[in-house]
Every structure is written in structure tokens, then in C-alpha cells.
């Protein structure tokens, strides 16, 4: 979800928390501890990178997707599409 949130534009921590909540229709509310733990792992895997945003807000450090992160997100999207297709096919069989 973090990768999906960063796919459209770079965001800082709090903006990520808000966007993920919006993306999941309010079902997922990340705490700061959970969010930054995940950010740390994504940084280590080089899926995202940190940079200093040139604005005047309190949060200057922002995160953006790297090419590796975009690739991982695409893989995940493909995996979910495949799963959805398989599940839909089984549902259709059951209905028949």
C-alpha cells in the first residue's frame, strides 16, 4: 500500500498515513511505528528513496518510488490480478 501510495507522487510520513487510509476506504490506519518500520524495510530493499522536500512545511523529508519499487509494485499488481481472475473463475463455476 505504501508503494501504491507513492506511485502517483512523493509524500512525507503523515501524508502517507492519510493517503493509505483513503486508499483503503478507512480500513487501514497505520500508526507511526508501523509506517516507519515499513519505510525502513523499503529503504533497505531500495524500493523507495528519501529526499529533502523544498517546501516550508514541518515535514521536509519525503519518500519517492525508485524504479525497483515501481517494478515490485507492478509485480504485486499482476499477482493480485491473477488471484482475482482465478477467484472469479471459481465463483463462476460454482454458480453454474
Amino acid at each position: 500500500m505504501i508503494l501504491a501510495s507513492l506511485a502517483s507522487k512523493p509524500r512525507h510520513g503523515y501524508a502517507l498515513m492519510k493517503d493509505i487510509q483513503a486508499l483503503s476506504n478507512g480500513r487501514v490506519r497505520l500508526s507511526t511505528g508501523t509506517l516507519y518500520g515499513a519505510l525502513r524495510r523499503l529503504l533497505e530493499d531500495q524500493c523507495i528513496e528519501r529526499f529533502e522536500q523544498a517546501d516550508t512545511s514541518r515535514e521536509k523529508q519525503a519518500y519517492r518510488l525508485t524504479s525497483e519499487g515501481r517494478r515490485q509494485l507492478q509485480l504485486e499488481v499482476d499477482r493480485m490480478k491473477q488471484l482475482t481472475r482465478a477467484a472469479s473463475a471459481r465463483l463462476r463455476v460454482k454458480e453454474v
Binding site: H12, G13, M17, S31, G33, G37, R40, E44
Partner: protein, 159 residues
């Protein structure tokens, strides 16, 4: 105890390198979330605080486990352990002679800084024609230099 202070205490449970990187951002994000939830009422704010405190406890435990179980060269790609980096003011030869393990103690660094500071004050005082001040700083500087010499002797470090 204020909520912000408790948050700070829980943050201190994280590994030091993690804190160097994220603690300020985490605090800012928590403050913003607090402002928003306070406006929604007491129950919403209490829910946020409980979730945040729980998240911090869980997160700190997870980070320690990750630190102990992950290869340090992998972590080092993005999260350098600042304790292994040469601090400002420590000469390169001194730092690398001990690869950090025998770095000069803090009191020695402080004494060096103090001496440098006093020298700069003397120069400034002379430039401002404040000869009275320059004499005073000069006296202090000679004491600081003597203190520094004794510390060098005590720790066996050449000047």
C-alpha cells in the same frame, strides 16, 4: 506525564541508528495526527494514543530483532550506524588508528573545543581593540591549554 513525553520515552526504546533517521519525522507525524484526532473528540484521540503507543512498543521490538538478525552490510546501505562514523572534531588519524574503538573520550574533545573557542575569542577581542578582554581570554586559554595537555597525557594521546 504528557502524551508527547511518553511518546518520546517509547521512541527511545528503538535502536539508535533508527532513531537518528526517523524519530523527528515520527514525532512530527504523531503531532499532526494528534491535532486532527483531538478535533474529533476525546474518544478518537484516546484511540489514536493507544494505537500509537502499542505501535511503538511493537515497532521497537521488531527493529531490535531486525538489527540483530540482519547483516549489517545490508542495513548499512541505507541506515548507517552513526556510532561507527567519525564525529566532527575528531582527527582522521586518531579515529582510524583505533577504528572508532579507541576514539578520544568526550572530555578531551570538549577541552579541545574549549581551547579553540578561546583562541577565536582572543583574535576577535584584539580585532575589536578590546585588549582588556583579550588579556582575560588569554589567561583562560592558557589554563584550558594546560588542562588539555594533562588530558593528552592521561589518555596517552600525542598533541
Amino acid at each position: 506525564m504528557r502524551v508527547g513525553s511518553v511518546y518520546g520515552v517509547l521512541l527511545s526504546l528503538y535502536p539508535r541508528d533508527y532513531r537518528e533517521w526517523f524519530s523527528r519525522e515520527m514525532r512530527t507525524a504523531f503531532e499532526k495526527a494528534s491535532e486532527e484526532h483531538r478535533a474529533q473528540g476525546r474518544a478518537a484521540y484516546a484511540g489514536l494514543v493507544l494505537a500509537e503507543f502499542g505501535g511503538l512498543l511493537f515497532g521497537a521490538a521488531a527493529e531490535w530483532i531486525a538489527k540483530w538478525t540482519t547483516n549489517s552490510s545490508l542495513r548499512g546501505r541505507t541506515l548507517p550506524d552513526l556510532r561507527n562514523m567519525r564525529p566532527v572534531g575528531v582527527p582522521r588519524d586518531v579515529w582510524f588508528a583505533g577504528a572508532g574503538a579507541d576514539a578520544p573520550p568526550d572530555e578531551l574533545l570538549e577541552a579541545e573545543k574549549r581551547t579553540e573557542f578561546l583562541v577565536s575569542r582572543i583574535v576577535h577581542a584584539i580585532a575589536s581593540h578590546d585588549f582588556e578582554g583579550a588579556r582575560s581570554y588569554s589567561f583562560e586559554e592558557s589554563q584550558a591549554r594546560e588542562n588539555l595537555r594533562q588530558l593528552h597525557e592521561r589518555y596517552g594521546i600525542g598533541e
